[in-house]
């Protein structure tokens, strides 16, 4: 396979106890591309994304990342290759500070003693503020607990984290759910920022109106099958909506 796309998923099938969740889906993401993945609840969006992020393997089909075939056996493996998935409630630990959340599991150490690493807190403070500035998120202190932030700011922190750790692909699962119009607008800004930095992203939503403004390409799933894959300039909100509401 030639290296024209970052992600290439070919003929993906997935069954759950006899029920077919995905039926031969082809899905790709180009370098620096924002792909909107839309579809009704139960269309197979999350299943497709969970396969791509290593939560479960496909029953059939192949995944290529940067042109190489991949078999992820855990989300950790996918993350090591640079695939960062941001699930709404699973992205942050609310009671922990912004800084500790950003470096959770990938702490910066000054030195190690046996199994323990001594945290380099001054550097983590500095780096987390820098990372937040890159998404234009200005917080008073890196020690603010995440539960004091708004929903949009939390998405910003998660995206700043993905950028900081040089992810190649950021998957956002319903990032605008339960957010006000203004807050949703901020999340779209974060996604544009990702694109500017050359990082590809997949934006999953059941709300086409949130996806449409930022997406370069829109993929529509329905009942486990891909029923549409359009470059944005070749389509319109009306056309996709019509497709989505078809039985």
């Amino acid at each position: 396979m030639e290296r024209k796309n970052l992600v290439e998923m070919v003929n993906i099938h997935k069954w759950f106890s006899g029920v077919c969740a995905l039926r031969g889906v082809d899905f790709s993401v180009g370098y620096g591309e924002v792909v909107g993945l839309v579809g009704d609840n139960g269309a197979g969006k999350s299943t497709l994304i969970k396969i791509l992020s290593g939560v479960y393997p496909p029953d059939e089909g192949k995944i290529y990342f940067e042109g190489k075939e991949c078999h992820f056996s855990s989300p950790r493996e996918a993350r090591m290759l640079g695939i960062e998935t941001i699930y709404q409630e699973a992205a942050m630990v609310p009671k922990m500070s912004v800084m500790r959340n950003i470096f959770m599991g990938r702490e910066l150490a000054r030195f190690r003693v046996g199994p323990l690493a001594y945290l380099d807190i001054p550097r983590m403070e500095e780096e987390s503020m820098k990372a937040l500035e890159r998404v234009d998120l200005r917080l008073r202190s890196p020690h603010a607990p995440v539960d004091e932030l708004s929903g949009g700011q939390r998405q910003g922190v998660a995206i700043a984290r993905a950028m900081y750790f040089k992810s190649k692909l950021v998957i956002l699962d319903e990032p605008t759910n339960n957010l006000s119009v203004k807050e949703s607008e901020r999340v779209l800004e974060f996604i544009r920022e990702l694109k500017k930095q050359g990082i590809s992203s997949i934006f999953i939503s059941h709300n086409l109106y949130h996806v449409y403004p930022v997406a370069d390409r829109i993929v529509v799933l329905s009942h486990g099958e891909k029923i549409g894959d359009f470059r944005k300039e070749e389509t319109s909100v009306e056309e996709i909506t019509k497709l989505m509401v078809l039985p």
């Binding site: 409630e89 699973a90 500790r100 599991g105 323990l116 001594y118």
Partner: protein, 323 residues
């Protein structure tokens, strides 16, 4: 000027330990007013002698609770570990080796708590309720209900040797406090503990091995409970089969009074130290004030509930303060 003062006040009120600290100061003042002897040299010595035993157990319970799990078996292990030392010594094993073996056994039993909880996915409350009964039963079976003879060959000085009005145990307590504070606040493992207890799904998603984190804390908690039991047994120079009865509740009370959340992910080492002081000082102060000792449990109960209410209330107010 007013601005910075307010800011400092807000930060102080947001400290997890603040309500327990205020309660501790109030309790000390009240007992001092009731009986001036309360702050006498001798009495302070008495209090500092008994605090480490509860404090060390409570620190283990705190660490485990921050990581999101519970241990009710600490009181039983508190008796089990010194009983095993007596048993080993009476079998002719070298006293120091006996201590090491008994502590290793405690560590292992903590691992068992963790394994059963994590492997079968059952609540640690249930697992440790079970092991609490099992270890206590084992203690009674081994001892036959009577304290076994206490070997004079056991080196007690390094744990409970007298140093003026203190005993060595207070140094162990201080050392363990500093060590655990460091692990919790300044190492990657501490960050994993907060993450595991605070949102296990997120911690896992970020590649943290939450099972390993919990298992390590189960083991630490049991080791400290066994160790504290050895301290008490060496101080009293006997091993009562009943020792540590009800200690699990006092340890949880000390933890919760100190601002650690029952639900995990939140807590401090210093708060638990303050909570342990509070409990033992109420215990001692009631005696000094010649109150019937039955009042002890009543007051601990009130202190526990009050501390949590205060904590919630004070934090809510402090957050809304503008500065």
């Amino acid at each position: 000027m007013r601005h910075t003062l307010l800011f400092t006040l807000r930060r102080a009120l947001l400290l997890r330990e603040i309500s327990s600290l205020i309660m501790l100061l109030v309790v000390i003042l009240v007992f001092f007013a009731l009986s001036p002897l309360f702050l006498s040299r001798e009495n302070v010595g008495v209090v500092l002698e008994i605090i480490p035993e509860l404090g060390i157990v409570a620190l283990g319970v705190t660490m485990l609770m921050i990581a999101g799990e519970f241990d009710l078996s600490v009181g039983s292990l508190f008796a089990f570990c010194p009983i095993m030392i007596s048993l080993f010594v009476s079998e002719g094993i070298h006293p120091i080796l006996s201590i090491v073996l008994a502590l290793l056994l405690s560590l292992l039993l903590g691992g068992l708590n963790g394994f059963v909880t994590l492997y079968f996915g059952i609540p640690s409350f249930i697992t440790t309720l079970g092991t609490m009964l099992i270890w206590r039963g084992a203690v009674l079976l081994i001892s036959g209900g009577w304290p076994p003879p206490f070997s004079s060959a056991l080196p007690t000085a390094f744990l409970v040797g007298r140093m003026g009005i203190f005993r060595a145990s207070i140094l162990w307590f201080a050392g363990i406090t500093v060590l655990l504070w460091f692990v919790l606040e300044r190492t990657d493992f501490g960050n994993w503990m907060f993450a595991t207890g605070g949102n296990q799904v997120a911690a896992r998603a970020m590649g943290i091995d939450t099972g390993k984190v919990k298992l390590a804390n189960f083991m630490l908690c049991s080791l400290l409970a066994g160790f504290a039991g050895v301290i008490q047994s060496f101080r009293l120079e006997t091993t009562l089969p009943s020792m540590g009865g009800g200690l699990e509740m006092e340890a949880i009370a000390a933890t919760v009074i100190g601002g650690t959340a029952l639900s995990g992910g939140v807590g401090t080492v210093i708060g638990t130290v303050i909570g342990s002081f509070l409990i033992r000082i109420i215990d001692n102060g009631l005696v000094m004030a010649r109150a019937p000792s039955y009042w002890f449990r009543v007051f601990i109960g009130i202190a526990t509930i009050l501390a949590v209410i205060l904590n919630t209330f004070v934090r809510e107010r402090a957050r809304k303060m503008r500065c």
